[in-house]
Symmetry: C2
Subunit: 350 residues, 2 copies
DNA sequence: TTGAAAGCGTTACCAA
DNA sequence: TTGGTAACGCTTTCAA
């Protein structure tokens, strides 16, 4: 088996089964109205010849493909990767493939990725990215292609938006830390120029204002990496502001924040408490384990897939799905419940 | 701009420029022998109409595509992800796209991914996986498709193999620890049933034998995740064998090993030393920072790309490229040089 | 229930 | 230097 050097075509399968390519195509696409006997012969021939359809020919002829596009801001951040893996799992189960691009949060790269993908005649595109500008969304909404966006400020018609209430999560974190008597808190983020991230920072600021003037705060930002988190923490601490709690925009950066604190001899949580966001697998492996807000990435990936493939409600103006982050308490804020079950709702996968 | 609802075709571009589709195609593919004036007109038309070629039509007509397939054992492990990102960078620069699949180390999934990819008429496939069986390699070598494999035991004709001398790296680690007077060492791995991983474990065992009977050793294995590393460490420690050094098959698992040791009140490096493999970015962020063996993933990704796209030496029986891992010393083995420059050769990217 | 044949958007060969 | 046109492998009417 697998002996042939040249790809087997539908025509050969058809000939082998003694039918026309039309019939062979019908069988292989699960169309009804084919005699059971014929169907069996075609299937047998396909298997015998180890036939695998030429997706290019198929896409060209039918005008649609079973390939989805996914654009991520930062593959290196496990948050994005998990959403991707989850979509991929759903896609594979349904016989779809994924084409992935990443942008490093650069709006131009988003546009060029989109352009490259537009030549692929995809079945849909998921924008799991923070650099989605309104203009892009608008122009996309004119096309027939199914589109789904992560956390878009103002979704456009015909575009599904999957929203996470970051402000709710942020408020929960601030309130929790406030209840622990923290008075000087800082926020560590990245790419504050991009709307969704701006908004998260804003949520922090507003939550803090609620406790002013007794509570002070500061913010810092750098790249979305552990290195970036470390840098941001360094900037913060060098500025003279000495926070007793640092809230990070995500767990990935928090890893670096923890490192910098340790490097400076600051103990966590005794001297400084730290929180993250996302509840990535790694957040259980930091020292100390990280208090964070859970975002159910496995659910989100499936939501994306469903939005693109079974876009049930394509008639609705825009089908939004809203998710609220939940607080997960671990050692980095002082209370250290058993680390072994720090996972509330979303399932962590191996 | 981007106003059109339906995709623009080559024919429209040609009409707009007042030439035939043949000429338009020639211009867009950079063929020589087109009058400068005509070329400019076509280019202008393409830009004006925001043309993006239908890759399916193009692939079907030409029989080749600018898409590469990549199969990874475990995307979650940053080692594989880095190789992927590096290939992706090289690919994007050259106008190629990547289609990625991952297998969780299951040979059957490797085969089914390969089959799915075979319908895509790819420009080449990179197997960055440990579960590549000889039979698969042999059948692949009959096809005309360029193939490159990571660390294959016995590469087949026409298949490029990119090899890392894990045994050399492992020996270096063992020798280093031996020079530090460690007598009881353990190896933590995963999927010992797969040849390449079997070999790494074997390298450990043989290196240890060299010091027998004065030196004792033990091994344990679990999944290729931090959780798996933690499990393996737990098994090891519960077995009664008390190693003074644990060598991990990779950094990703080492993260979990460090966690389990800490959980049990064992200090690293005072009570137990730990080493990893790969030198992933995260290895500088563990507590303590991880001694490891650097594997230049950025170089490897580029090697893969070049092997597939500019397969210069396709005439040679098999063009192997050999890489030797280099020891990177950090805190987890006791000597803690400045963490800020623990990176010998390979550049770490943001 | 099946087959013939007209595309789908490119590429590439052959003429002009 | 250009244009006409036959593929490429499949899907999908339309007839039979």
């Amino acid at each position: 088996m697998l002996r042939q050097n040249l790809p087997v075509t539908l025509e050969e399968v058809a000939r082998h089964a003694g039918v026309s390519t039309a019939t062979a195509s019908r069988v292989l696409n699960g169309t009804v109205g084919v005699r059971e006997n014929t169907r069996r012969r075609v299937l047998a021939a396909a298997r015998a010849l180890n036939y695998s359809p030429n997706i290019h020919a198929s896409a060209l002829a039918s005008g649609r493909s079973r390939i989805l596009g996914v654009i991520l801001s930062n593959v290196e951040n496990p948050f994005f990767l998990d959403v991707f893996r989850s979509m991929d799992e759903a896609a594979t189960e349904a016989g779809y493939s994924l084409v992935m691009e990443h942008t490093s949060y650069q709006p131009e790269r988003l546009v060029s990725s989109l352009k490259a993908m537009s030549g692929m005649h995809l079945a849909g595109v998921a924008l799991v990215a923070s650099e989605v500008e309104q203009g892009v969304l608008d122009s996309l909404s004119r096309r027939s292609l199914p589109i789904a966006v992560y956390d878009a400020a103002h979704p456009a018609p015909h575009i599904t938006s999957i929203c996470v209430r970051y402000n709710v999560g942020m408020r929960r974190a601030v309130e929790y830390l406030h209840s622990l008597r923290h008075k000087r808190m800082a926020f560590v983020g990245h790419h504050a120029g991009l709307a969704p991230l701006q908004e998260r920072k804003q949520a922090f600021v507003e939550s803090m204002r609620q406790y002013a003037p007794k509570a002070e705060f500061s913010t810092a930002e750098h790249d979305d990496t552990p290195q970036g988190g470390r840098q941001a923490a360094a900037t913060l601490l060098d500025s003279g502001f000495s926070p007793t709690a640092i809230l990070c925009v995500n767990d990935f950066m928090a890893i670096g924040v923890l490192r910098e604190l340790r490097e400076r001899g600051l103990r966590v949580p005794e001297d400084v408490s730290v929180t993250g966001f996302d509840n990535i697998n790694l957040s259980e492996f930091t020292v100390p384990a990280l208090t964070t807000l859970d975002i159910p990435r496995w659910r989100i990936g499936r939501l994306f897939f469903d939005a693109l493939v079974n876009h049930q409600s394509s008639t609705r103006f825009s089908a939004d799905t809203v998710i609220e982050p939940e607080l997960v308490l671990r050692g980095s804020t002082g209370i250290a419940p058993d680390h072994r079950n720090g996972n509330p709702k979303s399932r962590q996968r191996p």
